[in-house]
Each structure stands twice: as C-alpha cells, then as structure tokens.
C-alpha cells in the first residue's frame, strides 16, 4: 500500500458556487475535514449535497471556489483527477458489474490491474486480501457480485474504492439499503477507518449522524446553514437546523379505532420474474383505520406482493380481497376502480410519467372519468383546476402545474403521487417505501398524511425497511422473509432488536436461522 504512504490530513473547500438553470445548487459553500474526522453532510433533498460531492469527484466543475488538499489547491477536471488525488466515493447506487466476481470488479476499475487485454486477477486478489484484513472487511474475492447481499455489496464497494488507492472517502447515503444490523456493522467499520482517512458521509438519518460523525455540516438551499461538533447537538436540534423549523415526526398514538378487515391476502403465491415463488403462501389482513407495517429486507417478496396487489402480477394461487371483492387476477384498471390506492416503489418511473405535466400526472388515473373528460375529449380546464387545488392542498412546490413532473424534487414528486391517490378517496392504500430517499420535511408530511388516512378509516399497508417509520406509524407490524410472513407483531410490542432478528430470518423462539 505504497499509495497510502502520503495521507490526506485535510480537505478543505472554500466558497464553492455552482449554478444550474434556475437554481443555485451551491452558494459559496465552505467546509473542512481534518485528520481522524468523519464529517456528516446533511440537508434536505435539493440542498446541494450531491452537487457538492460531484464537484469533489470531478464530475462537475464549480463556477466559483477552490478545493485544497493538505493545504495545496487542486483542480479536478475529471473523476480521474480526483481518484489520482486519492479521493474515493461510494455511491448510493452501487457501481458493480453483477455478473463478474469481486476480484474482477476491482481489477476492472484499477488502471494498474487492468492490462490491455486481460485483468491481473492475482494482484487484485492479493490487494483485496490485504485490505480486508487491515480493516476487517470480510470479502470473498471469487464470489460473484450477484450472489451477494446488499450489505456485502456495500463492503465490496468499499474494498474496491480502497483498492483504487483512496485516502479520503465520500459515502453517499451508505445505509439507505442496509438492514439495521448491517447498518450497525458499517458504523463500527467506518469508525475504525476514520483513524486512517477522513470521511465525508451524506445521510438523512440523524441517528446515524450522531453515531458516526464527530463533525456535522448542514446544507440548506445550497448554503451552509450550520457547521459544528456533532456531540453538542441532539438529533432534534439537527433536524430543526436542517429544515429550518422544528420537526417532529408524527406517531401513531391511538391504539383503538380499527374496524373490520378491508384488505386481505390469503394463501397468496406469486412468482418473481426469475420464475421462483417469491411469495409462498402469504396471509395478510389490514383492517379499516389500521396501518399494517410490512417489515423486511428488500428482495424478500415485497415487490411481488406490491405488484400482485396492483394487478401487475397475476398470483399463482390465493386470493386478494378488498371490502369483500375478489381482486386476484383482475387487471389494474379494475383494481383501481375497486378503490385501491397505490404509492409505487419507484416514484420516478412508476408513480409519474416524468415528461407529463404535474397537471396531467394528477389526473393520470382518472383522465377518462367524467370529471376530466367530456365523452372522448379531455377537459383541460377541469384538469388544470384540479391540479391547482391539489397543489395548494398538498403543498406541491413547482413553478407551475404545467411543469413536467419529472423535473420536480423527489419529495415533491411523492406529494404529486400522494395527492393523486388520496384525492381519489381510496378504501385501501398500499404504500411501498414511501419515504425512501426523502428528507425529513417530506417524510414528516407523508407520515402525517398516512396517519390522517388511518383516522379516516382507510386500510393502509405500509411496506418499508425503516424500522423507525414502521414503529412510529403502524398498528401492527408483519415481517416478511423469503416470501413468507414470519410473524405479525402488535406495534407496542415491537422492538428494533425483535424486528431486526425477524428480518434476518430468525424465527421467534428458535435460536438458529430458519
């Protein structure tokens, strides 16, 4: 590891300004990370965090401002410049080739391990071994990436970045796809690594910020709103600094109020795209005025369950009923008409048509209903009036309702989807990872709306990986593992440890993995 001989002891940016059309993404941002420090960079969506990191990685050029490493000014024209200077980044979405081994992935990205025609896998293995040992990162060089869990893939990303000779780490929302246990492991690991190299990590989750960082910088609307020591501030303080106002995520306080079963799945068997049984006899019941949380590491059948409930995947066996009506096997249109509301997992491509206007997206499910159409003709005025009203009511921030919905921020796109679904007056709502990647302000908004629905007597199925979210909102929490419901726990009895163990496949009352 000759490359690590000269360490980065300080990275400083001064007065970075970056403009995008119509917005100032970064407005003279300055920050500093020193030896042994982990800096948490927090802020709402669109606050400029990612832009700033992309500037540090040489993906964007700043319009103004300077970057210093160990006191010397540097300029990154391309990502290669940044790598050469020792800066490594682990992206939120992993940059790995799934059908290659770990060693191949590492060799592929390192110029010195990649010959013109072949990869030097021996050297790659050796380097992986060295780094694994040094930081206690258990990684099998010869496993294929597709065989690895999300947490393992994350470790591979880290190892890869270190193999490239990183002396400074940037992590973009590193825990967003991890289970609670994996998150804890990662935090321990990163704490160990700060001894060797400074770290910047981006996060929405203030608990992690507290656990891992010793410095925190909060960005708001492109400016540094706060910079200081993490230890001096509580998560609530940080949340307030981040959003500019007090944030209190609402909780489901009332125990009573559940009516009869509205949405039910019985003995549901659904095949995945790859042909195996992704749901193997799932039973779920959601009562009127109840939020049923579905916990589980993603990839354990949630997607197939959500698809089946939306009518996009035909169940192989079993039934889905909504207020007594059998829905299994019906096309999506019929299911929508039966009163099913739906917040899809991928809001950018499943929730909205990005190139359509906000107005059009708000009418996406009802454009042919008499409200928005006179016979075969669209009633554009009615569509626009509807959009103006919903924009107001749901606080959708957009230049106008004629703006393409795809250009809005994630939180606002989610508001568009929520507004559309709630305005339809659903009997049941399926919300799939509704706050994934959203900032606290948007999260608060969405949580409030979900609780409102509950009060109105709607049956809500909340599919999520966020234990805090599930425990705050749900009346009962079901845990899914490999296509089966392992247990359904009343929310007051749920603890993180208990849910975490169930999510990892440990059956209650058993010591070993099921």
């Amino acid at each position: 590891m000759a490359k690590n001989a000269n360490r980065i002891t300080e990275l400083r940016v001064e007065g970075i300004t970056k403009r995008f059309p119509g917005t100032l993404a970064c407005d003279s941002v300055s920050l500093r990370v020193g030896e042994g420090e982990a800096l948490a960079l927090v802020g709402e969506n669109g606050a400029g965090k990612t832009t700033l990191m992309n500037i540090l990685m040489g993906l964007y050029q700043p319009d103004e401002g300077k970057i210093f490493i160990n006191g010397n000014q540097v300029r990154f024209r391309t990502p290669n410049d940044a790598y050469a200077a020792g800066i490594g980044m682990v992206h939120q979405h992993f940059m790995l080739v799934p059908n290659m081994t770990v060693a191949e992935n590492v060799a592929l990205g390192s110029s010195d391990l990649r010959g013109r025609f072949r990869l030097n896998l021996g050297a790659a293995r050796a380097r992986i071994g060295e780094i694994s040992e040094r930081y206690g990162l258990a990684v099998q060089p010869d496993s294929y990436v597709w065989q690895l869990s999300v947490g393992e893939q994350q470790r591979v990303e880290l190892v890869k970045t270190l193999c490239f000779g990183a002396k400074f780490l940037i992590l973009d929302e590193p825990t967003s796809a991890l289970t609670p246990q994996e998150t804890d492991e990662l935090i321990v690991l990163l704490a160990r690594m700060t001894a060797d190299m400074p770290i910047i990590f981006i996060s929405h989750k203030l608990a992690e910020v507290k656990a891992l960082s010793n410095k925190v910088t909060i960005l708001r609307a492109g400016r540094v709103a706060f910079s200081g020591d993490t230890a001096d501030h509580s998560p609530a303080d940080l949340a307030a600094l981040m959003t500019g106002h007090e944030v209190t995520l609402p909780r489901n306080e009332c125990a009573e109020g559940c009516g009869e079963t509205l949405l039910a799945a019985r003995g549901l068997k659904v095949r995945s795209d790859r042909g195996h049984l992704a749901l193997d006899g799932v039973d779920l019941e959601v009562r009127a005025g109840e939020i049923l949380g579905l916990a589980g590491v993603s990839g354990n059948g949630q997607r197939e369950l959500a698809d089946a409930l939306a009518g996009l995947r035909t169940p192989e066996a079993g039934s889905i009923t909504l207020a007594g009506t059998e829905l299994a096997g019906l096309p999506p249109r019929k299911i929508i008409e039966a009163g099913m509301g739906y917040i899809p997992e991928d809001r950018q491509t499943e929730g909205i048509v990005p190139s359509f206007t906000v107005s059009e997206n708000l009418a996406l499910k009802d454009f042919a209903a008499p409200r928005f159409a006179a016979g075969p003709f669209l009633r554009l005025k009615a569509t626009d009036a509807n959009a103006a009203a919903l924009k107001e009511r749901y606080d959708i921030r957009c230049p106008s309702t004629a703006t393409p919905a795809g250009s809005l921020s994630g939180g606002n796109i989610q508001k568009v989807i929520l507004a559309r679904e709630l305005a339809r007056g659903p009997k049941a709502l399926v919300a799939v990872y509704p706050t994934r990647g959203l900032d606290m302000g948007a999260e608060e908004f969405i949580h409030k709306r979900l609780l409102e629905l509950r009060r109105e007597g709607v049956a809500v199925l909340l599919i999520s990986e966020e234990l805090d979210e599930l425990m705050n909102l749900s009346d009962r929490i079901a845990v899914i593992f490999k296509g089966r419901i392992l247990a359904t726990v009343p929310a007051p009895e749920a603890t993180k440890a208990r849910l975490g163990a169930l999510m990892a496949g440990l059956r209650e009352g058993e010591g070993a993995t099921a």
Partner: protein, 364 residues
Amino acid sequence: MNRTYRTLYSAAIIIAAAAAAVGIGALVLMAIGVSVPETYRVILTEPFKDMYGITEILVRTVPLILVGLGIAISFRSGILNIGAEGQMQIGILAATAVALALPDLPKWLLLPLVLIAGALGGALWGSIAGLLKARLGVNEILSTVMLNYIAAQLHGFLLRGPMIDPAELQVGSGTPQSMRLPKAAWLDRILTGYRLHWGLAIALGLAVIVYFLMWRTTWGFRMRAAGAEAKAARYAGIRVESCLAAAMILAGAFAGLAGAIEVTGVHRRAIEGISAGYGFSGIVVALFGGLHPAGIVPSAFFFGLLLIGADMTQRALSVPANMVLVLQGAVILSIVSAKTWLNDPYARDKAVRKMAALFGGGRK
C-alpha cells in the same frame, strides 16, 4: 436583459447549425468540383421561381406529411415504426386492387373506398408488427424492417405478375406497373396543368385531426402516457400493450393512405418505385418536426423543397441528385446537434452569464 441574451444564444446556435450544414455541403460540393454558391442558389430559390416548382414541392409534401403523422403517433406511443415504406407499398397495392376491381362504381363511392382500402392495407401490414410486439414482445424495429423486405417483394411480384397492365405484356415492354385506374378513382388536381392534387387538403386536415386526437382526447392521453413511461401507465391502469398495437396499426394506416393518395392523385396507376423512400424520409420529417403535427407540416415542406432542389440542380448544373441526400444528411445532423444545445438549459445559462459578464447587466 437576460431574455435578450437568451434569444441571442438561441439565435447564435441556430446560425452556427445552419452554417455547419452549409459548410459540410460546400465541402462535398467542392470535392466533386461544382460551384458551391450556384448549387445552393438553385436548390433554395429555383423551385420558388414558378408555379411548377412550388406545386411540385407540395406534391412531395403530401406523402411526407401523411407518413410523418403516422410515425409521430407511433413514436409518441412508444413503438418505433421503421416499416412505413412497406406499409405504404401495401397501401398502394390495396388501393389499386380495389380501384381496378370495381371500375363501375360512381366516384363519390369509389374514391373514398379506394383511399380506405389503402389505409386498411397499411394498417394490416402495421398490425403484424404491432400484434407481435403486444403479444410476444417481438422487437418492432426488427419486425418492421423485415416486413419492409417482404412488402417490397410482394409489391414487385404483383406489379410484374398478376397485377401488371396487360398492355405492357402485349407491347412487350414489361414495365412493372398496373393498369390505369378508372377515372372515378382519381383524386382531382387542384390547378389544371399541374400535378398538385387535393391530397394536400386531406394531409393538412389529418394533421389537425392528429393534433386533436393525441393531445385533446382521452385516447391520445392514454397513448402518450403509454409511450412516455410505460411503467407508470401500467400502474395507472392503462393497457400499454393495446396502445402499442393500436399505435402501430394507425401508423400503418397513415402510411397506407399516403400510398393510396400517391396512386390516385399523382400517378393514377401503381408503378414500381412510387413509394420512393417516402416511408423512410417520413421518419426524418417526423423527428425533425418534433413529433408534433405543427412541426411536421413545415418539416415536410422543407424536405419536399430539398427533393425538388435536388432534381433541379441535377438538370441545371448536372450535380448528381444524390448529392442532395448528402446535404440532407448534413442538415439533419446539424439540426439535431443544435437541438441538444438549445435544449440544454445549463449550457444556455452559462453562455448567458458569460454574455452578461462581458456586456454588463442582467442578474438572475
């Protein structure tokens, strides 16, 4: 102030694009040793000198509009129809067959019947690719291109065999063409002495109808949603596969109608080669026109002009007409590149800031 700079920026890009197109063309023209300014003068002004030139541009505009409209429908609905040429040839055959089979019908009945037959022929050909896509997920680019070959062979076979004009066989010249259509199947000329026909009115009328269909009806909304983001459309309860099939059928109908109008309006008989690549140029016309009827009509006119200009330069300056295809290519490349610049708000803002820094004024 900033608005002025923005306009300046757009103008500069457009001028640069035009200059690039002209420049590339000039290089090629110089390479084959002809006068550059003279060639450009002929292409761009000669067709406008007399009624003949103008009407001939319009004669070529008609099929380009029709094919372009169909392409716009299909592309907007998320299915790429490269098969307009074949669909047009099937339309030509169907229209001709109906006209020749029912020569005694009155004009008010026969002409619409012939045009509908053409559209149905094209629709049928389009539906093969559409249904293959909807039912089996067969890549539509592959299937439409292959169907082009089949249509071309069928077209050639019928016009050289079963449908050939018996007179050709008697004389022995054997030109691959059908018998002349009965007069009742003729689309009338607008001006005596010129080939321009009422197909122009049909094309313009359909452009308006396509606009309403795609942007003002629930049907169009459904199609555009399916095309713009199939996943979101599915979640919203739209049957995307039906939209794809419908779009391909409609695109085929437009191409087939273009063929029928060429036969009934211009040639009055099916002749091998009268589809003349309109099925392919129509794709360019549609993309160039922003897949919107309001853009497709002028874009079709522009390509019509280039086609006539090519003819005229060949005759006046003996520049091979194929050179104009090169020019066409250069124009398209320049405009497509210019569009990316124009649509890149980041580049624009940067330029505006630079201009503001240079000439003062204008803060955001």
